[in-house]
Symmetry: C3
Subunit: 354 residues, 3 copies
């Protein structure tokens, strides 16, 4: 594999070829070649850059890129050669795919892998050194199992997946097709199911699976617990960032995206097409409807039944200012009582005045 | 290992046998057989279900389970065959244990494990392929060390433990008996001990251990740092969920349960029989008394000396409403001053009026 | 390796030797020997302890340590033999280094490691069993690669580093010298780069690297994503605690220290010499200036341009008190309007009164 930023002989493409690829309007030299796509603050001669947020227009002024992908409404802010499109970020993605290194799958099983004799591995799968495939586990064609990944007994991984280093796909869990699991994710650990008995916690056996759909991506060191009786379910097209905790029996609807450090407690149902910002915390046993958008660092303590944006961030301040304000947070109820009291007294005085 | 949800010939048990097991009052056909325990929304003919929260009574109406475990106070809400008990959740656990797959320990050391010649492994322990047992490490009988688990030099793991895939038990750490450590947990990493010296951070050597008691469960990808001079201590019966961070020198008392994504900073002492909700954050160098209950998403910034429930959640709202309210959070002190000012002026006017 | 707390023949050192080492003023028997450094509450005869915070003076009263390292201003609070210094915490660190076990590097490659034929490993490096060194990867002299650590294709690890168990250093990532990476850290996972297209999320290829400087320490199970086009950069001397998430394209300036459970979203720049408290959350695409100090559990939602301490903690209370106060948080704007209304009415009455 050759890394694009370090390759001695880089790819090149002319602006006219790119205009065709992106269905873009070209302003500038059609035969100009670019060799790389780069962010505005790094792009130099030979590079293609892109402006997706008008907010950064001013950065283009000093940019020495050979050309820029730009939205129609921003096109007059630069004299660089330009590829004018309707969605510059989506166009950027296409160009990034063009320049990105292809990581080929090399079918075969490393002699340094552990494969249970009763595992079923498709001949088109790539099983790296120090990977572990358990009893009755199945791995589909085009799938790569990286070093130190473990596929538990009876687990099923579909086609064209990438199971990253140090991942665990627990026993009997199920992964669809084209799903990417980044390093260190633990899928199918025991859920946190406890019953108090005479002052001690007794473990409830966790017998369900984790069932993950197709075209899912799961971030590094994210954890998804198996269900207690039924399954924990991650729908098709769901995207999870790093260090997310998904409790047992949770269901996440299709095409929902969740940023890093989010925790979702057990038995909660998240709808389809939701977005959840980083470090949000979602209580257990609640329902979040389709299309809900939860802001970063927000605590969701009850069900949401209407699409919209929901927030509970405490605004930050300089510490001394915060301290003076925060002390009042302990007495808001008292402040409110005082206001009511003032209102009544004032009303009484006004009445007397008349 | 046969997964109960996928077993071709499932277990079965009659209601009369279950009534005996649970010490339950049986209403319905004593000879009726059930094959599985399932949640209300999934239970069908042949399944046993349970109602542990009166809130979900209505769900029983359409449930086609063969029988239900139910508390006395809820028993009249359904015409299903029923096992009437005083604590339906504890009874459910007993039934779940009955139906749960037994994962037998297969004593022996995989030829694909790394075992230091000076390690001491009991003949009754199961050491899987790609596990690593360091110098002078000890592993007790009935304990399973899963693939990619590493037991560091001089570490001790007791009897009947399960050390999950990708766990690290760092050098000289100590684990009691019947303790379960889920995948990816890192026990005994270096604590975050730093001294500033001329604008740089200098590392303080971390020489203590992590000492974990018996009957503890630790969640996936949770991290527990070794102590600086003395040990980080996790008491007997403590239950930790996934993605929890426990700093160096922390002491957690017996039978305390902590939900996912919690962070506990260094040198803090948590009492016995505490519960800490998900994503709570506990400052360092403080003491939390026995029996304290800390709500999810709550920041504990000073010691707690009285049992009770403690909370600091900022309530969530629709974003626009939140925005209008949140702006005032930056001026609470000013609001409070205005109220005091109004009170004084009003008092002055009242005095004048008399 | 001999653990100092468990060694049969411990080191010993006289107080006069220590006074020389620490450049301390000695009060007490110069020939007295100490065998261990221990915290005040554990120190006994034969131990050296230290008092770094005047707050804990009272604990010294009942301490039976042989001697204490103490700051000048605290020296009269104890009759123990003492080493008087100007910075007792820094002095403690020196003593701890003296007593801490030296973990020697044993150069050589375990026959149970996987080494790609095109990897370049210095003869002075220690490559443990079950470690994985990819194609064209390079490892410098004095560096230890522990069991289950993976060094990806083309990745470079400098001199005298320690790459802990279960770490991944992703393809083409770069680590400086004397950097310590604790167990389970995933360096160079794919960033969370997505474009919405017709209701689905499309992945943007992540082509940058993670570049980590020298003298850095990274905590257990921390994750750092590779950049999209350019690199994610961690400056020299940066210290990261456990379970931290660093998004793609983030830049962290030299000698910044970040406590556990922090999340930093993509493309944010953190300055030099900052400190960030545990469980803080930093938005993406913002700039934090040099020397900023962010409190624990604080959400930073916009850029910080002035050094100082910034906080957004919601104070905790007993649950019932919190509940009564928190309900007002949903109506702060209304409370503010009422105050304004009262002010106007009062002013009108005062005017009439005149």
């Amino acid at each position: 594999m050759i890394h694009p930023l370090h390759s001695p002989s880089r790819l090149s493409v002319t602006l006219s070829e790119l205009a065709r690829l992106l269905n873009a309007e070209l302003e500038g030299d059609a035969e100009l070649k670019v060799y790389r796509v780069a962010p505005i603050h790094e792009a130099r001669n030979g590079d293609l850059t892109f402006l997706s947020n008008s907010h950064y227009r001013s950065q283009l002024a000093s940019c020495t890129a050979s050309a820029v992908i730009i939205n129609k409404l921003d096109k007059d802010c630069t004299s660089l050669a330009k590829l004018v499109v309707s969605d510059s970020y989506a166009a950027f993605r296409q160009v990034a795919l063009y320049f990105s290194p292809v990581i080929p799958v090399t079918p075969g099983i490393s002699p340094q892998a552990y494969i249970h004799p009763a595992a079923k591995i498709d001949a088109g799968a790539q099983i790296d050194a120090f990977s572990y495939i358990g009893q009755d586990a199945r791995v589909g064609t085009g799938t790569v199992i990286e070093a130190f990944a473990a596929i538990g007994d009876g687990a099923v991984v579909g086609k064209d997946c990438r199971i990253g280093s140090h991942c665990l796909i627990g026993h009997y869990c199920n992964i669809g097709d084209r799903t990417i699991i980044n390093g260190g994710a633990i899928i199918g650990g025991d859920g946190f199911g406890l019953v108090p008995e005479q002052g001690e916690w007794k473990k409830i056996p966790q017998m369900g699976r984790v069932v993950i759909g197709s075209d899912v991506e799961i971030g590094a060191n994210t954890t998804i617990d198996r269900g207690t009786l039924s399954d924990t379910i991650i729908g098709n097209g769901v995207k999870l960032d790093n260090l997310i905790q998904i409790g047992h029996n949770v269901v996440i609807g299709e095409h929902t995206a969740i940023a890093g450090c989010v925790g979702i407690a057990g038995s909660t149902k998240i709808g389809r097409h939701c977005t959840i910002g980083g470090a949000a915390m979602i209580h257990g046993h609640i329902d979040i409807c389709d299309g809900a958008q939860i802001s970063a660092a927000t605590a969701i303590t009850k069900s949401i039944i209407k699409p919209g944006v929901y927030t509970s961030i405490m605004p930050f301040q300089e510490h001394e200012t915060w301290r003076r304000n925060a002390v009042n947070l302990r007495h808001l109820n008292h402040m409110n009582e005082k206001i009511k009291d003032l209102e009544q007294k004032l009303m009484a005085m006004e009445r007397k005045d008349k």
